[in-house]
């Protein structure tokens, strides 16, 4: 089984230096694109590879790039940003790539930057990733010294700057237009679209924001081709995916696997099954803002369309398990506390609705719930749903709530009827 993204990552070992990375074939993709491919050629290759964005939405990466204005007359500088904000609760995949092989990310960023002819690139890294910050700083310096960054890279005439920017802690910084505001020194509130960042992004200039895992796929696609990348997968979605499992399983962790392994394989084979005495009750397949899957969905392949077909989203592909000893109301309360706190406050339904939802769930959890609370919660799942708020935070927050009400409705009712949490 091929594991292109993690093949050179060994836990508890320092990441490869630039020299070591070159010895295992690193930066070959940079040589290749600069010698053999036009920017459009790279974009078409990535489009053909069917790489879909690993930041959560799953948009075709090459297609996203193709909206960037090209040619001599366009506004400059153009920007590329690596989204390394990773703050979606339950998600710990980009950390592995950032700490484990920073040169792979830098090489991927050079490939993406060349394709859109970016002049300046940023790694937008969350504050908490201290080790990653050290490794990336070191790797960027090495890449400059070796001539992979800076003026006239490898004599090609193409130039690219790269900087590390560390955030100061806010989930909204991960939303791509809010991230651009944060990079401009402003509050991380989202921007209206259109104009899309591809046309008017950072400081009003054409900008692409891509997730870390997305960018790390690029050198391998350049080296091995689109057909190879598609062949890595078991299903229609291409490539490998870094999947993860956390919760009451025997071996929580993350693994690079062919796209499309099933939920059951992840839990039973890779995560070693449920801990002794605990039973599987449900799972959020891809972070806090995805709908619950339950037992009947265990054989669903983890890819974008298959998970969508059973009413959820692949999201980040890192799964959080709900077990039978854990109260689903308390679980959802914890999530809504997070979303209410991290709401940027820009639009009313989200700013007012999320704290209300949190309050209702807390009162249920304390055995103080009223029968009409269920209806109120259901109302919010619609009122804060897609189309009613300015960005995707609030609709994302409603996904675990609406599916919990659907699958665990009886447990919500019991809190009201028994006037206490049956799990306490």
């Amino acid at each position: 089984m091929e594991k292109p993204l993690t093949q050179h990552i060994t836990p508890d070992r320092k990441p490869l230096s630039l020299k070591e990375y070159e010895q295992v074939g690193g930066y070959r993709a940079v040589h290749k694109i600069l010698k053999e491919l036009t920017p459009e050629g790279v974009t078409n290759l990535v489009k053909d590879s069917n790489l879909r964005g690993r930041g959560g939405a799953g948009f075709n990466t090459g297609l996203k790039w193709s909206f960037v204005p090209m040619g001599p007359e366009v506004p400059r500088p153009k920007y590329l940003v690596a989204n390394a904000d990773e703050m979606e609760p339950g998600t710990f995949k980009d950390r592995i790539l950032l700490e484990g092989n920073p040169h792979q990310l830098i090489e991927g960023m050079i490939v993406a930057s060349y394709a859109i002819q970016a002049d300046i690139s940023y790694v937008f890294l969350r504050w908490a990733y201290k080790k990653a910050a050290q490794e990336i700083t070191k790797a960027i310096n090495e890449a400059y010294a070796a001539g992979y960054l800076g003026q006239n890279i490898l004599g090609s005439g193409y130039s690219l700057e790269m900087h590390l920017h560390t955030g100061v802690g806010r989930y909204m910084c991960g939303e791509e237009t809010a991230l651009l505001n944060a990079l401009e020194g402003k509050r991380a509130t989202p921007r209206a679209k259109p104009p899309f960042p591809q046309v008017s992004g950072l400081f009003g200039k054409p900008t692409i924001v891509n997730n870390v895992e997305t960018l790390c796929c690029l050198p391998h696609i350049v080296n091995n081709g689109a057909a190879w990348f598609k062949g890595l997968s078991r299903t229609g979605d291409a490539g490998t995916k870094i999947y993860g499992v956390s919760g009451k399983v025997n071996k929580p962790g993350a693994w690079e696997l062919p796209m499309g392994v099933t939920v059951r394989e992840l839990i039973e084979e890779y995560a070693g099954g449920m801990k002794n005495g605990y039973r599987f009750k449900g799972a959020l397949p891809g972070g806090a803002s995805t709908d619950f899957l339950v037992e009947e969905h265990l054989d669903t392949p983890m890819d974008y369309p298959s998970i969508a077909a059973v009413g959820s989203r692949m999201g980040t592909g890192t799964m959080i398990i709900l077990d039978d000893h854990t109260c689903p109301v308390g679980f959802v309360h914890n999530l809504q506390h997070f979303f209410a706190q991290e709401s940027c406050g820009f639009c009313t339904p989200c700013r007012e609705g999320l704290p209300w939802v949190e309050k209702i769930l807390l009162s249920l959890d304390r055995g103080e719930g009223k029968p009409e609370d269920i209806q109120l919660l259901n109302f919010h799942t619609k009122a804060l749903g897609p189309g009613n708020t300015f960005c995707a935070l609030a609709p994302g927050a409603m996904e675990p709530l609406q599916s919990a009400l659907k699958y665990f409705g009886e447990d919500f009712e019991r809190h009201i009827n028994e006037k206490q949490c049956p799990w306490k």
């Binding site: 339950g90 710990f92 100061v168 993860g244 009451k248 959020l284 914890n334």
Partner: protein, 154 residues
């Protein structure tokens, strides 16, 4: 007054962006790094240096979780209170910390050693529960080992 060192670091950040005020977050980070937190006076000085109103810069400073507008202890403990750590029983860690340090969230020990804050998912959910003390990450934390962890900081 900003120190000469702060000024030169902020100037460097300003040189990397097209407009002065775009360096606002970096400037706040620099001030906090030197002083531990951002007081009203530091905020005003920084705003004046960037050419923005103190109110505007404060709206940025207070938006972010990790810019401290109140004094903090020498070591800030960030305890993950997000979902995987909740499932894995972070509440026991919270109780133990609060009891041991005699403080609640947002408070600082009287000796100025520790400030305790809740934090969103630290991105290490397979090793829950997790916390950070200053820049150091601790994983799979048990109440039993907390005393030893805290003793490393003075």
């Amino acid at each position: 007054m900003l120190t000469a060192e702060e000024v030169s670091q902020i100037e460097h950040e300003i040189s990397l962006v097209p407009v002065r005020k775009a360096a606002g977050i970096e400037a706040l980070k620099i001030v906090q790094q030197h002083r531990g937190w951002v007081s009203d006076e530091s905020l005003k000085d920084t705003a004046a240096f960037l050419g923005v109103s103190a109110e505007e810069l404060d709206s940025v400073a207070t938006f972010y979780n990790l810019i401290f507008r109140q004094p903090v202890g020498r070591h800030v403990i960030l305890l993950c209170d997000s979902i995987s750590c909740w499932v894995m029983g972070y509440e026991k860690i919270r109780e133990h910390l609060m009891q041991k340090l005699g403080i609640k969230y947002g408070q600082t020990t009287p000796d100025g050693r520790f400030t305790l804050l809740p934090n969103v998912c630290l991105g290490t959910c397979d090793c829950a529960p997790a916390l950070m003390v200053g820049p150091d990450l601790y994983q799979n934390v048990t109440p039993e080992e907390l005393d030893e962890i805290l003793s490393r900081y003075n």
